[in-house]
Symmetry: C2
């Protein structure tokens, strides 16, 4: 049963021709701005206009807790999720510092933190954390569908006030959930999918591999993409997957952060592959499986700075690249305007 | 005869310890901001303080003409250098668009354009373009020394009003000069050092290789780094090399742009290797030899976006990465301030 969401095409030859003509009229050798030129073309195709904007930027930071933390898979205790939500709202976390610096509006989305609702966070709570997927499914199918719908609706709410969105996340234990999803969607081994997350040592990573292997064996091979998400997902990951689908359906381009956000993109892609041209992959994380995951999605990240913080920090750092690309595209002089001699 | 300029050390263990302690106190897993953390440490070592600033940013765009263009080595005619200087000053070029977007003060430096002086450009002119190094040295030793001194003095002028500088260039023909310098400083073959520049086709690159091979044979092996610069350099490259040396001597960190700027860094390094810790390499250019050149300098670029425009466009695009790194370092909450539980 495919999840019912329609996504428009993002390959209009008219738009491609207009964007190329504009770039080639500007005072620079053709193609010399490299990926800045192709980013604008993708943005144009996603937004459905040859003159896309990236002025109004927003980042949605999806937060949730994970039952799998009972298996001792994280370097930090579970209460840190809730503490970091407060830190986001107070403006002291990395993502909120970057949002202030780069004029990005942060939306802190509580998709299922194991605590009372937090004032100032957007309440899309499914439950107080997922169940432990080492024992049974992390959530029910209907919870997964609810999370997807929450994400879709939130993207639709954002569309009229936003030109370019981004995703980030917070959830102690969520690299384990993300690694399980990567294994289940792509038949990748736990050894290849597991990494240190927030900072496990080698025995810690080994333990995570064992937990993943046992859980994958427990649940067996699952074909339906929403059932995979329900079995191993986090509420923040499922809500983010819905957000990506909803954004694509509304032609809102989204900059995806690191490993966890890319797994949400993988889930969204499994539900409807037409989501992909609407997504930009900001960076390759130091979490080892991220490189493999990006290759699975045929995605080329914008930069590689060994970051592995999550929260959307990599996506926020990519925003000035879009600012630059659009500023150049909009404001550079043409050869004619500047009276510069073009090559023959 | 080493060029006489003293450069201070940039490896203070006290500063290293203070920077690491600050990063580790902030609400994130240790090291999880990756290269943003190491960029701040390098900035701190360069500036000589554990709390460096990157608020006041400037870029110096060094412009000059090249006698070697007589050999038909560029896709654009020589008069484009002067036309682009006017485009820089009018604000329509890529670099000036990026400067406006990212609050970088542009200084357009005429180091030897083959035209009358341009109002608004900083006049550090040595001559109206270099001589053709396919026939004889591009400039005299005393012209090279004058250009180096001009760059050093300009860096000293900038120091009191600037926290972080960058370099860019414009000069039709200057990839040929840069490739010759790379060959001469590092005994690299013309085949490895030559590329399409602003857009030569394959036969054009082949011709460039022949021109380089003949010129290198004409001048023979040269040991003195200033003499190498005089033989094959451009006035903009020599002035930029001086600028990098002067900046390092004054503890002004500099973000280096692409292939040509990195060749100026290579020249500066040949004159005094202590310059290196003061330089940041912004990106790896699509000009093929740039990768090799960065490896020669043991430099790891910040990003790779297939750009090959020059002007300082890559260096300007790296500036928000420094903004982000310093904003995080200065403004993130500590674990204690945010009451977030740290790992044991």
């Amino acid at each position: 049963m495919p999840f019912p969401i329609e996504i428009p095409a993002a390959a209009n030859p008219q738009i491609a021709a207009e964007v190329a003509a504009r770039w080639n009229s500007l005072t620079k050798p053709p193609g010399s701005l490299g990926r800045l030129e192709s980013l604008v073309e993708q943005l144009a195709q996603a937004a459905g206009t040859a003159r896309p904007s990236a002025t109004r930027k927003a980042i949605a930071v999806f937060c949730g807790d994970h039952g799998i933390t009972a298996e001792g898979v994280s370097a930090y205790p579970k209460e840190v999720t809730r503490q970091m939500v407060l830190n986001f709202l107070a403006g002291g976390a990395a993502i909120t510092v970057l949002c202030r610096r780069f004029q990005i509006v942060p939306y802190i989305v509580d998709a299922g933190v194991d605590a009372d609702p937090t004032e100032g966070a957007i309440n899309l709570r499914i439950a107080r954390g997922t169940a432990n997927f080492a024992r049974g499914p992390a959530m029910s199918i209907s919870q997964a569908e609810q999370a997807l719908h929450n994400g879709i609706r939130f993207a639709n709410t954002l569309r009229p006030v936003c030109d370019l969105a981004a995703t980030g996340e917070m959830g102690i234990g969520n690299t384990t959930s993300a690694s399980a999803l990567l294994c289940a969607y792509r038949q990748i081994s736990p050894e290849q999918a597991a990494g240190p997350g927030t900072g496990l040592d080698a025995p810690g990573v080994q333990h995570k591999v064992h937990v993943l292997r046992d859980a994958l064996r427990l649940h067996g091979r699952i074909a339906d993409p929403v059932e995979v998400l329900a079995t191993f997902g986090g509420f923040e990951i499922a809500t983010m997957a819905g957000f990506l689908l909803g954004a694509a359906s509304a032609r809102l381009p989204v900059v995806v952060d690191g490993f966890i956000s890319s797994v949400a993109a993988l889930a969204a892609h499994a539900i409807n592959p037409a989501v992909l041209p609407f997504l930009f992959f900001s960076h390759v994380s130091a979490e080892p499986a991220h490189q493999r995951l990006l290759a699975e999605l045929h995605a080329r990240p914008i930069f590689d700075l060994d970051m592995r913080l999550g929260e959307g920090s990599g996506a926020a750092l990519a925003m000035p690249v879009f600012d630059a690309a659009i500023a150049l595209y909009d404001n550079m002089a043409t050869f004619a305007e500047a009276r510069v001699t073009n090559r023959e």
